[in-house]
């Protein structure tokens, strides 16, 4: 049975919380035009869409919002806010929905990668010496088999290199041969580069997990390593 909405009894606490953390989220400015929903591939999944979500937030349906797994299906791709005439920050709203889940109830795959990143310095949990061994092994193979790359240079943590290159940590582990084409390009242009070994990996699962503390820790460690140990003037994220 549907009930009329009692305006006086609405308690949009979650809306207040989000606006406190993201003052420019513009949640009250939604015109309900639906431009967000029309261009969102996650619309209708779990019976949810961005416009509906904003209505629920404004009406204070906090319990339903806290429960919906849609928070993990939306990819926070920002296409909605990009198109929104009122710049309602739905991606940051979703980020805060994720942050509202008890940490241990958040998706295991993301949680595990975030924890691993904090503990081991990369999301795959590769020990630094294994990473160095893999890089050197692949490089040696190329130097030995292709005379055009006899003097191919690769290094990890070489202080003073111009570029610090941040590789996705899955590549050295699951498909090390995929590292080589990039090295060949860097060799062809004579780039002066190195791989950092602290908090490396272009990905950041703590961001996906909505774990501010973990996310910040990873960035701080990474920035410290680049600025103080390696002193590389440029950091490059790979493809």
């Amino acid at each position: 049975m549907s009930l009329p909405i009692e305006i006086n009894e609405m308690a949009p606490d979650f809306k207040a919380l989000v606006l406190d953390r993201v003052p420019a989220a513009n949640l009250d400015l939604c015109l309900t035009c639906g431009t967000c929903t029309a261009g969102c591939p996650a619309s209708e999944l779990f019976d949810m869409d961005p416009r509906k979500l904003v209505r629920m937030v404004v009406l204070g349906l906090d319990e339903e919002i806290a429960k919906t797994p849609w928070a993990w299906v939306c990819t926070m791709c920002t296409r909605c806010i990009n198109a929104c005439p009122m710049k309602v920050d739905i991606p940051k709203l979703v980020y805060n929905m994720r942050a509202g889940w008890p940490r241990e109830k958040r998706p295991k795959g993301i949680l595990g990668s975030c924890d691993m990143h904090i503990r081991a310095g990369n999301a795959m949990g590769v020990p630094t010496e294994d990473f160095i061994w893999t890089v050197e092994d692949v490089a040696e193979e190329i130097q030995m088999t292709d005379p055009r790359f006899q003097d191919l240079q690769v290094s990890v943590d070489r202080p003073g290199a111009y570029y610090a290159i941040n590789q996705n940590s899955r590549e050295p582990v699951t498909e090390p041969d995929e590292l080589a084409p990039l090295w060949k390009i860097l060799h062809a242009v004579g780039a002066d580069w190195t791989y950092p070994s602290v908090m490396w990996g272009g990905e950041n699962y703590c961001l996906f997990l909505a774990d501010d503390e973990g996310w910040r820790y990873i960035l701080e460690e990474f920035v410290y390593h680049i600025d103080n140990t390696l002193k590389c003037p440029v950091v490059v994220n790979t493809e």
């Binding site: 996705n168 990039l182 997990l209 493809e239």
Partner: protein, 184 residues
């Protein structure tokens, strides 16, 4: 870093920006001659994190400049919509690790249809997440495209792509331009 106001001295950039810069400066000598007769068609995904969320349309334009240089102007077929208006592949934001596989694939159907519409047999996905998701939806929905990094085709175009570096190439390019040592 902006979110947490962490100061850093280094400048932050991406490989695609550098590829574009090096090609323009003449440092990276590469062209699309290899594909003149093959006429293999390519399309490209705009990774949300690099394009819409960080560097905007300029990044999308640089990526297309690089791609057109290595596959040929006439062999690049853009998706609709594209650039900062392109759709997310559905693999981002942790979706590949979140465990909601059916929903992730339903999300990715939009991307799959966009790719099919181009008729391209190769998709550039210069982001590890996009790469994995676009491969997965291709298998799931029965697509016949290959998903590649830019560095693979770049090396192919330069004639330096090794035998072990062709995992993501289709049968049409598995042996193409493979460097053979002269027996001494």
């Amino acid at each position: 870093m902006r979110k947490f106001k962490i100061d850093h001295k280094f400048e932050f950039t991406t490989l695609i920006t550098l590829y574009a810069q090096w090609i323009r400066e003449g440092k990276l000598k590469v062209n699309s001659d290899w594909n003149k007769d093959l006429k293999i068609k390519f399309t490209a995904q705009d990774p949300c994190n690099m394009v819409r969320k960080t560097w905007g349309q300029k990044m999308a334009d640089d990526m297309r400049f690089v791609i057109r240089t290595i596959v040929g102007e006439e062999n690049f077929i853009d998706m609709v919509p594209n650039g900062i208006n392109n759709y997310c592949c559905g693999g981002g934001g942790g979706a590949l690790q979140a465990g909601f596989t059916d929903q992730r694939r339903a999300y990715g159907k939009v991307k799959f249809d966009q790719i099919q519409e181009t008729g391209a047999t190769y998709v550039f996905a210069p982001c590890h997440n996009c790469h994995a998701q676009i491969e997965d939806i291709g298998h799931h929905y029965g697509g016949h495209y290959n998903v590649v990094h830019i560095w693979t085709i770049m090396c192919l175009a330069m004639g330096v792509l090794g035998e072990n570096e062709r995992t993501y190439l289709g049968d049409d390019l598995k042996d193409f331009g493979l460097h053979k040592e002269e027996p001494s």
